[in-house]
């Protein structure tokens, strides 16, 4: 989840991945400049990596451990500490290994320390730039722009269905209007905070109850959610648009209808959500699908960075969307 602090979140997979890549690229570049010829390059790259990697990994572990403390400090103080501690680690490392390393023993430790300092500054500067690009204000604005929008098609068909019930089945019309009110309250709310999975599922059930009103026996649902952690957090309105797609592209084009399967389970600190619907190419010419998926993908990215995934595939005449998000609980939100 995006922290309010400007210090990068060193416990985030994406941040750590970028860290590894940046440092290794810089090291490789340094090796290129330090050497001539391929064998020379390989030699200096190995030498440099033997020196860089242990420092990098111990620094990453240290930063991981120090994250809560760093978050409490002002940004520049935290950066100062990082810029002080990492060269110290380098110095420590050099003093412990000077007898064993292939490094030129006569060479002073100034260059490695300066190198660490420089790389650390580059990395911090990069994360600062990235943070500004995705600053909370920007991210919030984008989240707002990306907020799920229900198809107008659904709204008007729904009102139409309720109208048809008023004369003959006023009780069902009442329930339908109540469901609609709940659904639209969520749709019009400020949906930037994560909500418990159980809440999103309840909303989906209300949505599908409304669709069932129109499509009757053509719409069948199977819920496989026995293994679902109800308290796990999810961005609101991630599932509902996917179900809307499933109904619009999967069920409505079929004269006899079909089945939508919703499967939610938790595996190893991750929540897996699978939504599948029947799909026949010949009945589908709409491209709207892609847009909803792109929108949800971007919202997951803004909330979870690289820790969330969204994939879709065609399998045996069915269309399947698979979402993976980290299992977050309310306490550390």
């Amino acid at each position: 989840m995006r922290k309010s602090s400007r210090i990068p979140n060193f416990r985030n997979l994406g941040i750590n991945l970028r860290l590894l890549i940046i440092v290794n690229v810089i090291t490789t570049l340094a090796a290129i400049f330090l050497s001539s010829g391929l064998s020379g390059f390989l030699l200096s790259l190995t030498t440099l990596l033997a020196f860089v990697l242990p420092i990098l990994i111990s620094s990453m572990l240290l930063l991981y451990a120090a994250q809560p403390a760093l978050n409490k400090l002002p940004y520049f103080a935290a950066c100062g500490i990082i810029l002080l501690v990492l060269p110290l680690i380098t110095l420590l490392f050099l003093s412990q290994t000077s007898d064993l390393l292939i490094l030129d023993a006569t060479q002073s430790s100034v260059r490695p320390v300066l190198f660490t300092l420089l790389v650390t500054m580059i990395v911090l500067y990069y994360f600062n730039l990235q943070h500004r690009a995705y600053s909370p204000a920007m991210a919030e604005a984008r989240l707002q722009a990306l907020q799920a929008r229900i198809r107008p098609h659904f709204l008007f068909n729904c009102i139409n269905a309720v109208l048809s019930l008023i004369r003959t089945q006023p009780k069902r019309a009442e329930t339908a209007l109540e469901d609609m009110a709940d659904l639209f309250r969520v749709l019009m709310a400020d949906n930037r905070d994560l909500v418990p999975l159980a809440q999103e599922i309840a909303l989906c059930r209300q949505y599908l109850a409304l669709e069932k009103l129109r499509l009757e026996e053509r719409l069948n649902m199977t819920w496989q959610i026995d293994n679902m952690p109800p308290e796990a957090l999810i961005p609101p309105l991630v599932l509902q648009p996917l179900l809307e797609n499933a109904v619009y592209h999967g069920i409505e084009p079929l004269p006899k209808g079909g089945e939508i399967i919703i499967n939610v389970k938790s595996i190893a600190k991750e929540i897996h959500i699978l939504i599948s619907n029947p799909y026949s190419i010949s009945h589908n010419q709409h491209i709207g699908n892609k847009m909803a998926l792109g929108n949800i993908k971007e919202r997951l990215l803004l909330h979870f960075d690289l820790e969330a995934r969204l994939t879709s595939a065609f399998k045996n005449n069915r269309y399947e969307v698979h979402i993976v998000i980290p299992h977050l609980k309310n306490t550390n939100a």
Binding site: R151, P152, H153, L155, F156, N157, I159, N160, A161, L163, S164, L165, R167, T168, L213, R214, L215, E216, E252, P253, L254, P255, I281, S282, H283, Q285, H286
Partner: protein, 267 residues
């Protein structure tokens, strides 16, 4: 039409609540008779064949056959019916309707607006003209059927049953495994229409005058003295040159593959 003679109406919508709502509204209007309810365009045409309605209220988005396609086929009826499209929301279609003065009703439908549409039908306004039909054609995702008029009735040919389309002088012959039909369209127009939709993938042009459904091609054969169908269905035995023909499932006909398309055989 006399003002208080009975106006026969057919409604088509895939959603039962939407049909019920229309029925409720029609029960509040005088001198109309609901002669049929359809769940899709195909059913609407079947009903219209027998009931000969004056007016059809067609939902745009329906499975099997949508309202727009049904409207184009309904033009083949001896007495063209009035058509009013209904839709909950369809920006794309509404623009075309507005631009071409095509009648439509937005769901939920207001009683007064339905009344107006019915009054127009009574006054014999609202029969689609050629221009309007041309304007709604691009709204069609991919046609599901061909239609022909036989003794005043519309006969529908599912596109999946079409084996090949062959250009004749003024018509196109549509071949199914059972028989041949003539339709008044040009092969080029059809090919262009197919190219805009998923049907472009389904049919292949093997010869200047012939579009063949890929699924019905079972193989190719090299022939020397031709006994296969060429242009205008005549037997061609003018040359001893060898050429390729396509063999088709279910029927003995073969299609000559023109020189330009012979690379298709090899691939």
């Amino acid at each position: 039409m006399l003002n208080n003679s009975l106006l026969k109406i057919v409604i088509a919508d895939d959603e039962a609540p939407a049909r019920n709502r229309l029925k409720d509204l029609l029960s509040d209007i005088e001198h109309v008779a609901l002669v049929g309810e359809a769940k899709n365009g195909l059913e609407a045409i079947t009903i219209a064949n027998d009931a000969m309605p004056h007016l059809l209220l067609l939902d745009i988005r329906m499975p099997v056959m949508d309202g727009i396609e049904a409207a184009t086929h309904l033009q083949k009826l001896a007495v063209k019916p009035h058509i009013v499209f209904t839709t909950a929301y369809d920006n794309h279609a509404l623009q075309a309707f507005e631009l071409n003065a095509i009648d439509y009703l937005l769901k939920p439908i207001h009683l007064e607006r339905l009344q107006t549409a019915i009054d127009k039908a009574r006054a014999l306004q609202g029969i689609l003209n050629a221009e309007q039909l041309e304007a709604i054609k691009p709204l069609l995702p991919a046609r599901s059927h061909f239609s022909i008029n036989e003794r005043g009735r519309i006969i529908l040919l599912p596109i999946d049953e079409v084996i090949y389309l062959r250009a004749e002088l003024k018509y196109v012959t549509v071949r199914t495994s059972i028989r041949e039909y003539l339709i008044e369209e040009s092969l080029t127009t059809l090919e262009n229409e197919f190219a805009q939709t998923s049907l472009g993938e389904q049919f292949i042009r093997l010869h200047r005058n012939c579009l063949v459904a890929k699924v019905y091609i079972i193989g190719y054969e090299k022939r020397t003295n031709s006994t296969s169908i060429t242009e205008h269905g005549e037997h061609d035995s003018t040359s001893g040159e060898s050429h390729w023909v396509a063999l088709l499932k279910d029927i003995p006909d073969t299609i000559v593959i023109s020189r330009r398309q012979q690379h298709l055989v090899r691939s």
